[in-house]
Symmetry: C2
Subunit: 90 residues, 2 copies
């Protein structure tokens, strides 16, 4: 296994999964937000991307490889989205 | 002003705005995700909340108080959502 942390167990943690459209994928919602931000007075902005943030509370230990499986297969669409998984102390 | 950083200018930055439903607000989407995660094999989970993640690229300096105004008034609904704004180096 390439990542030795994958099978670590985690207790009393919070898992933050962020899901953003891949850079190559059109994001019309982000483009609309960029336009609205420009009209709000911030003229010089670059690209805006809009995705999801999922916060999962874990009362006890969980296998990190299972968490990655859930983020990849359940919470994101790997064809058009990238996910990032972060574990923080609750 | 309570926060002395509010009027700092920022150049070549990325702004990450996370928007989550307030803890007191019902989040049916989060409850549905929690159920799906349970069925996927992670039996012991606590609350799941689903919100938005907005990534804004800034090519040049921007007033941080204007960014907070945009996050509060444009990107979130302050009645039912809390936002968090983080500035990171692009």
């Amino acid at each position: 296994m390439s990542n030795p942390l994958r099978n670590e167990t985690l207790a009393g943690m919070k898992v933050l999964v962020t899901v953003l459209p891949k850079p190559s994928v059109l994001d019309p919602q982000g483009a609309a937000a960029a336009e609205a931000i420009r009209h709000h007075g911030l003229e010089k902005i670059g690209r805006v991307r809009i995705g999801k943030m999922i916060e999962i509370e874990l009362p006890e230990a969980a296998d990190e490889s299972l968490l990655h499986e859930i983020a990849r297969d359940l919470l994101s669409n790997p064809v058009i989205e990238d996910y990032e998984l972060k574990v923080v102390n609750a």
